[in-house]
């Protein structure tokens, strides 16, 4: 299905920009058109730490069969997704996903641009600097071939003014920072990245999304808000004074600027008047997964977490959620440890254990969120339709960073074709290499409303996929040349 595909894009290019530039026009614009003025696609990721996913347990048993040829890296294949008489798509993709088959894609054959070995968490969202080295703190062997430091895709989107023309309650929410990264010093990316701050418990999540809500009809609340604005203004003034002191180093200035940026963001949030959000409920306790010791408690945590997140996404309090699935606390053992042991010391194969954990997370965390988002947003589409949910990991087996197991749900407002099993591997001599994983990230960024220029303008090949010679696996030029493009067949939204 496709949802207001052409009108959304055209509106962005034309009338949308005009409407943003001339807000007075908004009063005479139809409500639907206003809604389309800003791309409201949401981006939610579920990252499986380590991955170590057995392909035989993740993908459908029947191979994708319809060949697609054209001006692509190489021919690839797809098939409509169906249960084919089975109770579930695959051993890992369990039955809770069945109602969403028409909105899903299972993607096979996207590859990391080069080898990492393991512990490549950051690469899931495009921080490819982690590739080639940095294991055990060791320096790179070929420093001249280092990938650049960039924020992860979710944080790149979160900071982009096309994604958020006005300051939202939260640019992103992050659960477990594994793959979500921000630059240590935005003015000097060479200094590296650090994990994006997140919300590890329910109260933090709720407060981030709804904690600043004020009832504009209550004079006391409004007076208090005004005083808070004054206080924040003065704190910002303090920080600027410190920044301008003479007895302060360049590094210290950066620390102060970090605070000033956040206080400035707080100031803008206080000045914005968020509409009330009916689904937000009341502030929960500060329950975290670590405080949940039984399956029932964990299930309750997942239910509350996904309820709060869904309300925040639906009410426009954020568009981006990055979740590291909490494998360590999952039902049947220590996912991280089993995955990690597999290539090293463990005496036997744990792929079934990993499969149990993948299914557990799908049933308890992914499906509940999908269900809560799959409600009407208007124009015949649901909030889920107008989202891209990405579920995956960066190891398709022990120390294998190609043919990454990926699942998407939602069409990104019509930008993605859905309901397919797409296999991008080159079929030669069995199963050959696929296409660059970057292309999936580019597809998502474009579904979120960024243009190729927006992505390329960041000046890095981590997102655009243009790899300097010698950096990656040995791929043919036909693959390399396609790297800056969105994935064919999947992405239709231009």
């Amino acid at each position: 299905m496709f949802y207001h595909k052409a009108s959304r894009r055209h509106f962005l290019i034309g009338a949308g920009k005009a409407a943003l530039a001339l807000p007075i026009l908004s009063s005479i614009m139809p409500r639907q058109a206003l809604a389309q003025a800003v791309n409201n696609t949401r981006f939610i990721t579920f990252y499986m730490p380590h991955g170590n996913i057995s392909s035989s347990l993740f993908y459908p048993s029947n191979a994708a069969s319809t060949e697609v040829t054209g001006d692509y890296a190489h021919p690839f294949y797809h098939s409509p997704l169906s249960l084919g008489g089975q109770p579930q798509i695959s051993r890992m993709l369990s039955s809770g996903l069945n109602p969403f088959i028409s909105k899903m894609n299972i993607i096979r054959g996207t590859d990391m641009p080069t080898y990492k070995g393991n512990h490549g968490d950051f690469t899931f969202l495009g921080q490819f600097h982690q590739l080639r080295g940095k294991w055990s703190g060791a320096p790179l062997r070929d420093s001249q071939l280092e990938f650049p430091h960039v924020p992860s895709v979710d944080q790149f989107l979160a900071a982009h003014n096309k994604i958020y023309p006005t300051t939202p309650s939260a640019r992103s929410v992050v659960y477990g920072a594994a793959s979500s990264r921000v630059l240590v010093n935005p003015s000097n990316p060479a200094e590296g990245t650090k994990g994006a701050p997140g919300q590890g418990d329910l109260l933090s999540l709720w407060n981030t999304l709804f904690g600043g809500d004020v009832d504009s009809q209550d004079p006391q609340q409004m007076a208090r808000l005004q005083n808070k604005k004054t206080l924040v203004d003065q704190v910002l003034g303090d920080l600027n004074s410190i920044k301008n002191r003479r007895d302060i180093s360049t590094e210290d200035v950066r620390t102060v600027e970090s605070f000033a940026d956040e206080v400035n963001e707080l100031q803008m949030k206080l000045n914005a008047t968020a509409a009330q959000c009916a689904g937000k409920g009341t502030a929960p306790s500060a329950l975290s997964i670590n405080g949940s010791s039984t399956d029932a408690e964990r299930t309750q945590f997942f239910d509350l977490y996904t309820s709060i997140l869904a309300a925040g996404l639906k009410c426009g309090r954020t568009k981006i959620a990055t979740i590291k699935t909490p494998g360590n606390q999952a039902a049947s053992g220590n996912w991280h440890a089993w995955s990690h042991n597999d290539p090293h010391d463990a005496p036997y194969d744990h792929k079934e254990v990993v499969a149990d954990n993948v299914s557990y997370i799908i049933e308890n965390m992914v499906v509940p969120l999908l269900t809560k988002l799959d409600t009407n947003e208007g124009s015949g589409s649901t909030f889920l339709d107008n989202s891209v949910v990405l579920f995956g990991g960066v190891n398709s087996g022990a120390h294998k960073q190609y043919h990454l197991p990926m699942l998407t749900v939602g069409s990104g407002g019509g930008a993605f074709r859905t309901g397919h099993y797409i296999d991008y591997r080159k079929r030669v001599n069995g199963s050959g290499r696929g296409v660059y994983y970057n292309q999936l990230l580019i597809s998502i960024m474009m579904a979120m409303g960024l243009s190729p220029q927006d992505i390329a303008a960041n000046g890095n090949y981590a997102y655009s996929g243009v790899l300097p010679e010698g950096m990656g696996y040995s791929y043919s030029p036909s693959v390399t040349n396609m790297a800056p493009n969105p994935l064919p067949f999947l992405y239709t939204g231009s």
Binding site: Y115, K116, G117, R132, G133, K134, W135, S136, G137, A138, P139, L140, R141, A170, R171, V184, K194, G195, P197, Q199, L203, S204, N207, G211, N227, K228, T230, L231, V232, Q234, V235, D238, L239, I242, R246, D247, I248, S249, T250, T255, S258, F259, E262, E265, L266, A286, G333, N334, A337, D342, P343, H344, D345, A346, P347, Y348, D349, A398, H399, Y402
Partner: protein, 584 residues
């Protein structure tokens, strides 16, 4: 038949092919300061160049621990009941301050992470605190002064506040300009000006950051910090909170401008009633250095295999941490010990039955005159204790142990596995082989051995301990599915681990000898000092620029009269501790 000539050529070809692998691991070392000065250096001292400009720590925010402790100290102006009431009133806001983490640093104490949630929370805590103070006249009087009892403050009231609680909040005397700004800024608020005075002060970066003033330009971009800034550094380093009244008074009087004056205050602060706080500081360092929070312990009840393997033993993180706390407390205060003692002591500090049983000893009752010793020849120091040895499952992890020693004990990190290895599968289970044999076989390929020649023996040396940390001479092999004992093999712990280049010919058959050799290598001592430097100064040292400080720290903890206690108290008295870098 292959001729000798053919064998020779094959050998040359094989060695030539392997050379890049060895060069890879070797090349790294030659490019790092680790080669020359640490892991492979024969110089057991750091080189001190007095003319070098040392690196210094940056301005940072208060960590959550520091922030909460400081608020708690400020609240001591209230009655005990009100202190509890205050905690209840602001706890929900405090909970939202992100926990100190090592996301941006190796030690959570150095966390300087700034986020939207943190900023929101700091402002909200300040407001919640002010709400509490403004609830009654008594609290207003106690916190601001009698002049604020009405709920409003005038210029005189602000002035007197600035000399009392205001000075405590900023942890230094407030400047006249700051007092004047308060007078002006309070006009912008509606409602109780006393309440907003409290919020304004507690939301100030001068409160939630370590903003340090300087007094002397030393050239080269270095400045000496003021005595009040030094008082803050001392107090937050040792106690994670604001200076006490005596330390502030010492700063007021200029006592801290002299080395003798600083030493006098350190002697006072080092009294026994403060040992618990400082023990926590040291324990925090050791827990993070040893990466205890990353450990996954064997679960004795996981399945039949683990039940059979555990044979009634249990291991908890609490018991592991308790032992480390006791050990550090003993060697810091009870019987100050050197770095060498940490790696050679045969004293068990296991205070609970479970860990003591794993060690085969009685639990220690905490009495220094009633120490418990390990069975002779079984254990020596940190790396032979559960805190270093334990791992999930019924098999040891020699590779992880080896990397842990290389990376964290010797500061000798290793590069990634070579890119040519795409598909490392699990080490195949074979009941006829020991863990060592299986791993040795798995990593025997030349593409692995470049690095694994430095990893494997470093870890195999500890094969006398199983995944609970129990001493063993035999390795029991259980059926992974049924848990049945299949085989028992003698443990081979004979190794040639190349601790340093100079000692590369050393071989060991005893983990006690191995641990002692690590202690005496010089590399581990220097690695420890560099790591502790990072803990104190929030940055990894530059061995050339910071050589003098490092050498002073090394000398304070080495075996020739040094101790952990010396290390702890010599740092705040050092020259580097009172330096700050400014823009040039």
């Amino acid at each position: 038949m292959i001729s000798l000539q053919q064998i020779r050529w094959k050998l040359i070809i094989v060695l030539t092919l392997m050379l890049p692998m060895y060069q890879n691991c070797g090349q790294f070392n030659s490019n790092s300061e680790g080669l020359n000065l640490s892991s492979f250096g024969n110089n057991s001292k750091f080189q001190c160049d007095p003319s070098a400009t040392p690196t210094v720590s940056n301005t940072r925010r208060l960590t959550k621990k520091e922030y909460v402790n400081t608020l708690t100290d400020l609240a001591k102006v209230f009655s005990l009941n009100d202190q509890q009431a205050l905690q209840a009133a602001i706890q929900s806001e405090l909970d939202l301050i992100p926990a100190d983490s090592n996301l941006d640093s190796r030690f959570s104490e150095n966390s300087n992470f700034v986020s939207q949630q943190l900023t929101d929370s700091l402002v909200n805590v300040a407001i919640a605190f002010s709400d509490f103070v403004a609830q009654n006249n008594t609290r207003l009087t106690q916190f601001i002064g009698a002049c604020a009892a009405s709920g409003d403050v005038n210029s005189a009231c602000i002035n007197s506040f600035s000399q009392n609680m205001g000075k405590k909040i900023f942890r230094r005397p407030m400047t006249p300009e700051e007092v004047q700004d308060l007078n002006t800024q309070l006009q912008a608020y509606t409602g109780s000006s006393a309440k907003w005075l409290v919020a304004r002060m507690l939301a100030s970066p001068q409160f939630f950051m370590h903003v340090e003033d300087t007094k002397t330009d030393l050239g080269g971009g270095l400045h000496e910090i003021t005595d009040h800034a030094l008082a803050n550094r001392i107090s937050y380093f040792l106690f994670d909170t604001m200076p006490d009244d005596e330390l502030m008074a010492a700063a007021d009087s200029g006592q801290l401008s002299t080395v003798a004056g600083v030493q006098e205050q350190l002697n006072r602060l080092g009294n026994q009633q403060n040992h618990a706080a400082m023990k926590n500081l040291m324990a925090s360092f050791f827990e993070q250095w040893l990466k205890l929070d990353e450990m996954v312990l064997p679960d004795a009840n996981a399945n039949t295999l683990m039940q059979n393997y555990a044979a009634g033993d249990q291991l908890t993180m609490e018991s592991i941490k308790n032992e480390i706390h006791e050990m550090i407390g003993y060697f810091t205060f009870t019987n100050p010990g050197s770095f060498r003692d940490l790696f050679t002591t045969d004293i068990s500090f296991a205070v609970d039955n479970n860990l003591a049983r794993i060690y085969g000893v009685q639990p220690w009752n905490g009495n220094p005159s009633n120490l418990v010793r390990f069975p002779a020849g079984e254990r020596a120091g940190l790396i032979t204790r559960a805190a270093f040895l334990a791992n999930q499952g019924s098999l040891t992890k020699p590779i992880h142990r080896g990397i842990h020693i290389r990376h964290d004990i010797l500061c000798d990190p290793l590069p990634s596995p070579p890119a040519e290895i795409f598909d490392m599968r699990a080490v195949p289970f074979d009941e006829s082989l020991t863990t060592r044999e299986r791993i040795a076989h798995k990593t025997s390929d030349s593409s692995c051995m470049g690095c694994h020649s430095r990893i494997n023996d470093t870890g195999f040396a500890l094969e006398n301990y199983d995944s609970f940390g129990r001493f063993r001479l035999q390795e029991k092999i259980f059926d992974p599915e049924t848990g049945t004992l299949l085989q028992t093999h003698p443990v081979d712990a004979h190794v040639q681990p190349r601790i340093t280049r100079e000692t590369s010919n050393q071989s060991f058959s005893s983990p006690v000898d191995y641990s002692r050799a690590i202690a005496e290598s010089g590399a581990a001592e220097k690695c420890f000092v560099k790591t502790f430097y990072e803990f104190v100064y929030q940055r990894y040292p530059d061995v050339e620029a910071d050589g003098c400080s490092l050498e002073q720290m090394r000398a304070s903890v080495n075996d020739e009269g040094g101790s952990l206690k010396e290390l702890l108290f010599r740092i705040p008295a050092s020259r580097q501790f009172r330096l700050k870098r400014v823009s040039q």
